[in-house]
Symmetry: C2
Subunit: 252 residues, 2 copies
């Protein structure tokens, strides 16, 4: 999986840090070069590399920072008292992670890397200061609200959709997000296990397996292990019987 678009020059790479790590935060905002430098300074401050299967943070850990995913992907999940796990979301490069921690002193979710990853650490206090100084406060609030609306979309799904609708929404959403990152919208790798997908969708792994096979039989997609090729996006949208998109308010 690699970008289908222009490769980065060295200068572009530097810019890409603002555009990539923090793109969710400052996407459509105009900042002066000095302000941009301020942001870069924040981002550059601390990088982390988390290996596949390792945690970026655990539920209950003291909250100090948000994280911008530079490369790789994460799942977030919570563990109920009785041990039931619930996968809350999948986060790709450019997504912001850790907003669950803002409301308290600790994170409420755990974040596990689905592959080897690189993240930028954004000390929250400093970030609050910067968003206050730069014209980013509104942007920051938008970002949080987007997270709220994303969750509303998932609730819609979990509350009302059938199993095949859920899987279709999931695939279309991934497709859309990869596309927004310059990757192919129709061919990508599922970094997460069937079990994780199922859990996220409120289903069982067997059901996801069966549905993937059925979608393949119906010519909607080709799947082999973790690699999917969406053969017919429109037909896949057809599974929903109506427009999609509202379900996962993603980046503008």
């Amino acid at each position: 999986m690699r970008p289908t678009e222009k490769p980065f020059t060295l200068t572009a790479q530097k810019v890409s840090c603002g555009r990539c790590c923090l793109r969710e935060l400052c996407a459509p905002v105009e900042v002066t070069p000095e302000q941009e430098e301020l942001l870069h300074a924040l981002v550059r401050q601390q990088h982390l590399n988390i290996r596949r299967g390792e945690h970026l943070y655990h539920a209950g850990m003291p909250f100090h920072s948000l994280f911008a995913i530079h490369t790789g992907s994460f799942k977030t999940y919570m563990l109920a008292d009785n041990g039931r796990e619930r996968v809350e979301g999948f986060y790709l490069s450019g997504d912001m992670l850790g907003m669950d921690g803002i409301s308290g002193d600790t994170y409420t979710l755990s974040a596990m890397a689905l592959e080897d990853t690189g993240v930028c650490v954004l000390p929250f206090q400093r970030l609050e200061e910067i968003t206050r100084e730069l014209p980013l406060q509104r942007q920051f609030h938008r970002m949080m609200s987007r997270e709220i609306n994303r969750d509303k979309g998932i609730m819609m799904m979990l509350g009302q959709m059938t199993a095949d609708e859920r899987l279709a929404v999931f695939l279309l959403n991934l497709s859309q997000r990869y596309e927004a990152r310059g990757f192919s919208a129709t061919e990508f790798t599922l970094k997460m296990s069937r079990q994780d997908i199922a859990n996220y969708l409120g289903l069982k792994a067997e059901t996801v397996s069966r549905l993937l096979s059925r979608f393949q039989d119906d010519g909607l997609l080709t799947i082999s292990g973790k690699s999917v090729r969406l053969a017919d996006l429109n037909q896949l949208r057809g599974v929903l019987g109506f427009g999609d998109g509202i379900y996962f308010d993603q980046l503008p």
Copy 2:
């Protein structure tokens, strides 16, 4: 349904506006009298009375304000393209409404009054200014994050819980929220229809009806129309088979 605690004096009533409308925002923060006056000015600016069944805002309407519920309660819901409705939440007095609108220029949900209500209008731009000036920015972020975590809780529920667990969580959550507002934790009125409860919980109205009857047969509660009396909170918690509380991170 009336507060079980001390009645308000006139002065208390004035204070109560900060404590009631905005309690979610500034609950544990110490503000100077002048700052408090600033807040009150914001709150006093515009009041609305919305009658049962009327809307406070519709999905798609331009976003300008948040709303603090002074008295009464609302449901928020979204309508999918195909007409399916999804109830997203129930909001009681003191709750903040409208955060779904922050991420865009319009509200993404609709908010309908479940009874005759009074709300304070909080122009968002002005609110952002105030939270920046007063030491409330962090509080405001907390409030938004709480909304995020609340949704995570609902997702947990919709994704993994059985019908009776869902209903038990729902009732316990309401109980807790009424208690936090000074009402009885065990006797209250369901302002919303069975249909709304069912929709919110990802069930069908018939299932909710049957479960309420079964809970009554099992001695967990007494229900008559819209009035519930939770007879045995612990037994109700027992339906969950484990601790509750994490599912609906409410006010501190």
